[in-house]
C-alpha cells in the first residue's frame, strides 16, 4: 500500500488522519480535563497570563463528588438505565417478531406493511412531540418512566425490524423448513432455530437501540417534568444550569459520567455496533 516517497505518506495520510482524530476526540479530552479542574482554574479567562488549557496541576474530584451528592444525578442515571433497557427490550421483542414476519412469511399486504414500517423509521421525533405530549397526557402517562418506555420503541422498532429483516434474509430458509419437517411448529422453528442463529444481529440491534434511547432528548424533555423523574441528558441540561449560571465543572462531570454507560457498552461490542450502523442504512 505504500506508494511513493515517505513525505507523500505523511502529507496525504498521516497528517490528515491525525487531524481528524484530534478534531473528533478533542471535545472529550476537554470534557475530562474540565471535570477534574478546580473552580479557580476553571474560571480563568482565556487571555489571562496563567491560562493553562490542556492540563491542570491540581486535579480534583470535587465536581464529581458534588454531582453525586448534591444533585439527583445518580437518580437520573438509574432512570435512564431503566428506560433505555426496558424500551430496548420491548423494541427487540417487537422488531424480532415483525422482522421475521416481513422477511419470511407470505401474507396479504406484506409489502405495504413493510413500507409503512420503513416510513416510520424515517419519522423524526421532532415531528410529533407536541401532539404526542397530548396523547401521553390523555393516557395518564405524563411524568412517569412509562411515557418514555412506550414511546421510545416508536423510533427503535422500525430500526430493529429493518436490521433484523436484513439479518434473517441471510439465514437459509431450509433451516426452518427442516425444523418444521422435524416436528417443530412454525413458532418453535422460529424460536429454537432462527432466533439463536440471529443472535449477532439481535446484539447489534440491541446495542444500537440502547445507545439511541440513552441519547434521546426531546421526548424526555417534553414528557417529564419533576426533577427526580428525569433522564441524564435532560437532568444535566435543566437541573445543572441554575438560572443563568452554568456550573461547568459539574456539567462536564455529568457529561462524562453520563457517557460512560454507552461508551462501556460500545467498547465491548464495537463490531456489533458498527454492523448495526451499516445495517441501519443498508437493510
Amino acid at each position: 500500500m505504500i506508494e511513493g516517497a515517505r513525505w507523500r505518506r505523511w502529507v496525504f495520510f498521516n497528517i490528515p488522519l491525525l487531524l481528524f482524530i484530534v478534531a473528533l476526540l478533542f471535545p472529550f479530552y476537554w470534557m475530562i480535563v474540565t471535570s477534574v479542574r478546580p473552580d479557580k482554574e476553571l474560571y480563568r479567562p482565556w487571555n489571562a497570563a496563567n491560562y493553562t488549557p490542556f492540563w491542570t496541576l491540581n486535579p480534583t474530584l470535587e465536581h464529581i463528588r458534588e454531582l453525586l451528592t448534591e444533585t439527583l444525578f445518580s437518580t437520573w442515571m438509574m432512570n435512564t438505565m431503566l428506560i433505555a433497557t426496558a424500551s430496548t427490550l420491548i423494541s427487540l421483542f417487537c422488531g424480532l417478531l415483525a422482522g421475521y414476519a416481513l422477511s419470511r412469511l407470505k401474507f396479504p399486504f406484506a409489502g405495504s406493511i413493510g413500507t409503512g414500517i420503513f416510513i416510520t423509521y424515517l419519522v423524526p421525533q421532532t415531528l410529533l412531540f407536541i401532539p404526542l405530549a397530548d396523547v401521553i397526557r390523555n393516557f395518564h402517562l405524563g411524568d412517569s418512566p412509562w411515557a418514555l418506555i412506550l414511546t421510545y420503541p416508536t423510533f427503535l422498532i422500525p430500526f430493529c425490524t429493518w436490521l433484523m429483516m436484513g439479518y434473517f434474509k441471510s439465514i437459509p430458509k431450509e433451516l426452518e423448513e427442516c425444523a418444521r419437517i422435524d416436528g417443530a411448529t412454525r413458532w418453535k422453528a422460529m424460536v429454537y432455530i432462527i432466533f439463536p442463529i440471529a443472535v449477532p444481529g439481535i446484539l447489534s440491534a440491541g446495542i444500537f437501540a440502547f445507545t439511541l434511547s440513552w441519547n434521546e432528548f426531546i421526548y424526555a424533555l417534553v414528557f417529564l417534568s419533576s426533577p427526580e423523574q428525569k433522564t441524564v441528558p435532560v437532568g444535566v441540561t435543566s437541573e445543572l444550569v441554575r438560572g443563568d449560571v452554568f456550573y461547568w465543572g459539574q456539567l462536564m462531570a455529568g457529561a462524562l459520567l453520563g457517557s460512560i454507560p454507552v461508551a462501556f457498552v460500545y467498547s465491548f461490542f464495537v463490531e456489533h455496533y458498527v454492523s448495526g450502523i451499516t445495517g441501519s442504512v443498508k437493510g
Binding site: 478534531a23 421483542f93 417487537c94 414476519a101 423524526p124 401532539p131 455529568g254 457517557s259 461508551a263 455496533y273
Partner: protein
Amino acid sequence: MATAGAATPRPYVATPRRGPITRLLEDERWLASALLLPTIVLLGLFIAYPFVKGVLLAVTDTKVGIPGKFVGFDNFEKLWHDNIFHVAVYNTFLYTAVTTVFKLALGLWLALLLNRHFRGKAMVRAFILLPFIIPTVLSTFAWKWMFDPTFSVLNWILYQANIITGRVNWLGDPDLAIISVMVVNIWRGVPFFAITLLAGLQTISPELHEAAAIDGARAWNRFRHVTWPLLLPVTMVVVLFSVIQTFADFQLVYVLTGGGPANATHLFATYAYQIGVGTGLLSEGAAVSLAIFPVLLLVVIIQLLYIRRVETV
C-alpha cells in the same frame, strides 16, 4: 405416549391432536398477523395516532389547558407572516445543506483514509465513532463550554496561532452562532458518514482497483471512475438519512443557543418547541413542526423510488 415409543414402532397417529392456537399459528397469514400485532399497536398508538392528532391540532387554536375550536389554516397563515418563522425556514435549509455537504466530503475523506492498512486501525475506527455514540446533549455541552466567550479554549488556540487578536463571541453573534452550530453538527455527523461509507468501500473488491491501476489510471481517476460509482448507492442512502435527521434537528440548537441570540438560530424543531411548549400555544407549535413533514415526505418518496429501482435492476 413416550413410554410406548421405546420398544414397539410408534403407531402413527392419523390426525394428531393439536390445539386450536397451534393450528391457527401454522397458517402463515395468522402467524404473520400475530407477529406484527405488537409492532402495529405501538406504532399505531404513538406514531399514526399522534400524527392525525397533530394535523387536527394544527387547524385549531388549542392552548395548554384550553381546548380549541376549528380555525382552518389560520395558524399556517400566521406563520406565513411570522418573521421568526422565516428565519427558522431559512436557517433549517441552510443548516441542512451546508452540514450535509461538509459531512459527506469530510466523511468520505476519512473513510478513504481508514480504508488503507495501518497499525492500530481497529482502535482508530472505534475511537472516531465516539462523537456519534456519546449522547449528543452531553457532548454538545462540552462544545458550549469550548465556545464560552470568556473561557474559550478555541479562542486561546486561535490567539496563540495569531489568527485572531481579540475575543470571538462564538455563540453571541447571530452569524457566528449558526456557523458554530453547524460545526458541532458536522463534528457529530462525520463519523457516521465515514463508517457507513467505509463499509461501502470495503464491499468494492480490491481487484477492481488493481485492474484500474494496471490500466494506468491515477488515484483521482481511479476514485472517480471506479470507487465513486460503486459507492453511490450507499452514499445516497446515508445522505437521505442524514438530511432528515439534520432537518429535524433540535438538541444542538437547544443546548448551544436556545434559538438565540434574538431568535437568530431557530430551526423548525426549536421554534416549534418554543411556541408549543415554551409559550403553550400547542396548535401553533404543532403547525410549525408539521412544516418538517413535506421535506420528510419528499425524502421518503425519493428513498422508496430509489429502493424500488435498485430492487428491479
